[in-house]
């Protein structure tokens, strides 16, 4: 098991690559979803306030 995690002496490179990839992928998905939700709400609020003005 520890032999597997040692990755033949290249553990530093292998596992840091995994960590960076996972962090970037998760952040990318979460931030995009949040931005889409925020944009929707923003546009909706804007339209509602415009409707009230009319």
């Amino acid at each position: 098991m520890s032999e597997f995690f040692a990755m033949g002496g290249y553990a530093k490179y292998v596992w840091s690559s995994y960590t960076i990839s996972i962090v970037v992928l998760v952040l990318m998905v979460v931030l995009t979803k949040r931005a889409l939700r925020n944009t929707r709400e923003q546009v909706l609020r804007r339209q509602q306030s415009q409707r009230e003005m009319q």
């Binding site: 998905v29 995009t32 979803k33 931005a35 889409l36 944009t39 909706l44 804007r46 339209q47």
Partner: protein
Amino acid sequence: MWGTYWEWDPRLTSELILLFLFLGYIFLRQALGETRQADRASGILAIVGIINLPIIHYSVEWWTSIHQGPSLMKLEAPSIATDMLWPLLVMILGYKLLFLAVLMSSTRIEVLQREKNSRWVSEQLGAKTVSQQGGVA
């Protein structure tokens, strides 16, 4: 194993140019305040930048490189062990699909922001809230 962090190798250098193209694209868009102008300028930069793609692909054939020759993108059978080939192909597919999903969401954001005054957006979003409110009530 290449045994080096950096070398002015054809593959590494052409990929570095690609990185600069991406950075240039991002900063060009941000530098130009007006949307139409930024669209045009960054669009031209993106199209011109495509020239770099075949250079990256053929860099390992045209010049001597510490990178190996093509392992997948060639006419003969892939020169990679089968138990590494399948995970690689599955992961490539996974990354492409994820990229496509994120790209589509980003496009929706962009379209919503640009078309926030048009009727179809208010119809789309408005209809949604009415039905949602109807569901709650």
